[in-house]
Symmetry: C2
Subunit: 149 residues, 2 copies
DNA sequence: GCTTGACTTGAACCTTTGTTTAAGTCCGAG
DNA sequence: CTCGGACTTAAACAAAGGTTCAAGTCAAGC
């Protein structure tokens, strides 16, 4: 009823893309993946609630530290629709991602030290070298093809 | 002429797979990618020089710290065929990978700190937040779709 | 000589994170 | 009403690092 709805309360995909700096193709992809949602016009075009801008920001920030979309989706799942990430939400996610990063840093440091150390051994032996048998050192990283996180 | 060639001087792909712990399918893949080489028997089967065992070890050790195969291939290119990685080779590669790891650790630490810090800002603003505009902080990471390294 | 297990190939498939393209539709300005 | 730019979809393509499969060959033991 506010006659002051002066500007688009909702965003088209092009507007969201420009404002967030995320290509429209990526936004559609995020929607297919269930990371964000949209209303459709009678003509089947997407209209985004303004809170989506914040959600996209959260997605990109999280991605930038290597969190996979599947995990981001789960975390975003705790937010109601059309609600931007709250401070508490951000706080908790931040703690979570920081822990992730600490883990990864620790793993990389272990590997780096092993590499440095192993110069002295020069072994590359399959039986003894920690680098060649990294599973003992790294712990299980999951199954299937992977790169280091 | 040494009559003492008691055991296989060369390895079949199955033997190499078992000794290295790397699936035969991956070994063939590495060969297609030019990481390792093989002789062929009259019946077109692969026979690997024993030095290949060490090369495969080098590949896996390098991979385990996130070095892509393309880089590993370049580095292995400095080694003559049928020569295992020497101590000097290993030393230099180790320095190189350590530097890589230090870089990555530093980047992750910056991101982690930013995440921690940003809890106080709660902004998720597209204009100001370093997390939301990470390119300034991270430097260029290359082009195209990527995950963090 | 025959059987069996290990080997050969190319091609298709997998995951992740998207981009590109083709063909067609919607909507606002004039 | 018409024009053009922004929008729609599904599907193909990308890169990395492989796995799996089908169909066929090799080699060693009995």
């Amino acid at each position: 009823m506010t006659t002051i709805s002066w500007q688009a309360e909702e965003l088209t995909i092009g507007e969201l893309a420009e404002r967030s700096g995320v290509p429209a193709s990526a936004l559609r992809f995020y929607e297919r993946q269930g990371l964000i949602g949209s209303r459709r016009t009678s003509g089947n075009q997407r209209r985004y609630h303004r809170s989506t801008l914040r959600k996209v920001a959260f997605v990109r920030a999280s991605q930038s530290v290597g969190i996979p979309l599947s995990v981001i989706r789960e975390v975003l799942g705790f937010l109601p629709e059309n609600v931007a990430p709250t401070r508490e939400f951000w706080l908790r996610a931040s703690e979570c991602w920081s822990a992730e990063l600490n883990d990864r840093i620790a793993r990389l440091e272990r590997m780096r030290d092993l590499f440095t150390e192993c110069v002295g051994c020069g072994c590359l032996s399959f039986e003894q070298c920690g680098l060649v048998n990294p599973q003992d050192v790294l712990g299980e990283q999951g199954s299937g093809p992977r790169r280091l996180q």
